[in-house]
């Protein structure tokens, strides 16, 4: 982050193409310069009031130590994530135009996203072309693991960022150049909170949860499970050794998202993979039939 104002001007994510070793920086355009203006406001100590107002009318929270001085009101009525959402729609159109199914894989760190991808590529790459966008704060370790399968892969490193956004995926897709009629797997940064908010232009989010993480995770991180079309419960080979209630976990996920599909599987031992492949194939078939 820029130390002058906290803006992202000097912060960037970068894309590494594993095949060529080429590294491209993603610098977000910033609209403001750093010229200091005449400061009429001191920076007060912050004791923000945020009453937990459970009345039905919208609560109006602001700091009590800042008096209401009046000025000229300008209406903006603008979605905060408008820019990301526009770029996401552009990505979606780009993918649809090439008949590509893109899935956004989200989970906590260590749930087994990369392992599931390695196994999926191994089992399916002869039936559908697969390429991968790997997202991590640092290192190309995961991209190297995917590259070892023979699959085309680019790594996006977000630096201090905690999620991929639509502009990062746009750059990654340009570098990846996936073929028409193919599958693109986007492995998001391991984080069950932030990626829920950022549309990348994917067709669906897939949340991956492992049985070592706790039965109640869908309730503790409801936004991600609400945003996802499928919950994969991974590492079910470890069920005899951990205190995990699969039925309760599924009930919790359906409480926050009644429509979510659920597939329990073990990416290492192979249990349940047939259902995962059937889920993928159904989406690929639907996409290819629509296009033909």
């Amino acid at each position: 982050m820029c130390t002058t104002c906290g803006c992202s001007k000097h912060a960037h994510a970068w894309v590494t193409d594993l095949a060529t070793g080429k590294v491209t920086a993603i610098v977000e355009p910033v609209d403001h310069d750093h010229a200091r203006i005449d400061h009429r406001h001191t920076h007060p100590t912050h004791h923000h009031a945020h009453p937990h107002d459970h009345s039905d009318s919208p609560a109006h929270d602001h700091s009590p130590n800042r008096p209401h001085t009046s000025g000229t009101t300008i209406d903006l009525e603008q979605e905060v994530l408008a820019k990301n959402n526009r770029l996401a729609e552009r990505n979606r159109g780009w993918l649809e135009g090439r008949n590509i199914l893109a899935l956004n894989l989200v989970s906590s760190p260590g749930a087994g996203k990369t392992q599931l991808l390695e196994r999926t590529i191994h089992d399916l790459q002869n039936s559908v072309p697969i390429s991968v966008v790997e997202g991590d704060q640092e290192t190309v370790f995961d991209a190297e693991r995917i590259g070892a399968t023979g699959c085309r892969v680019v790594q996006v490193n977000t630096g201090t960022g905690c999620h991929l956004d639509a502009s990062m995926l746009a750059r990654a897709l340009t570098a990846l150049n996936p073929p028409r009629d193919s599958l693109v797997m986007v492995e998001n940064v391991g984080n069950l909170v932030c990626p829920a908010l950022f549309d990348l232009g994917e067709q669906a989010k897939v949340a991956i949860l492992s049985v070592t993480e706790g039965t109640d995770k869908p309730l503790k991180y409801p936004h991600m499970f609400r945003a996802s079309s499928l919950m994969v419960v991974n590492k079910i080979d470890l069920l005899p050794y951990v205190d995990f209630d699969l039925d309760a976990c599924i009930a919790f996920a359906r409480k926050v998202n009644p429509d979510i599909d659920v597939i329990p599987l073990s990416a290492t031992r192979g249990d349940g993979l047939d259902r995962w492949y059937a889920w993928l194939n159904a989406r690929l078939t639907a996409l290819f039939e629509t296009a033909s």
Partner: protein, 113 residues
């Protein structure tokens, strides 16, 4: 922390609109079912606005609750988080409507004499 990205988007949009005029107040609408935490927004806002014409301005956050209907008692209720229950005790609720707002409503700029 995604609130930093969210705050950067808010500040970028306001700076563009304000065109260099000192900003007194920015009002945003944040739905209660949207995964954005007001405390984190306020924290980020101070960091991100420093050195800009928004420095020292007030960030006003208007919370918009989601609405739903209880499948057991039939009441229409407000949802203040995704795990809300009906006052009747039931958690058998219809899919929420709204509550996912994330919108810059308006801002006040200082009047020039």
């Amino acid at each position: 922390m995604h609130e930093l990205s969210v705050t950067q988007s808010i500040v970028e949009a306001c700076l563009k609109k304000a065109g260099g005029a000192p900003v007194l107040r920015v009002t945003v609408e944040i739905g209660t079912l949207c995964c954005v935490m007001p405390d984190a927004l306020w924290f980020c806002y101070d960091v991100v606005t420093t050195g800009t014409s928004l420095e020292g301005s007030e960030l006003v956050i208007v919370r918009i609750p989601g609405r739903t209907r209880c499948r057991d008692c039939g009441d229409d209720i407000a949802m203040h988080d995704l795990l809300s229950r009906c006052p009747c005790g039931s958690d058998n609720l219809e899919a929420p409507q709204g509550g996912d707002e994330l919108r810059i409503k308006s801002m006040e700029i200082e009047e020039t004499a």
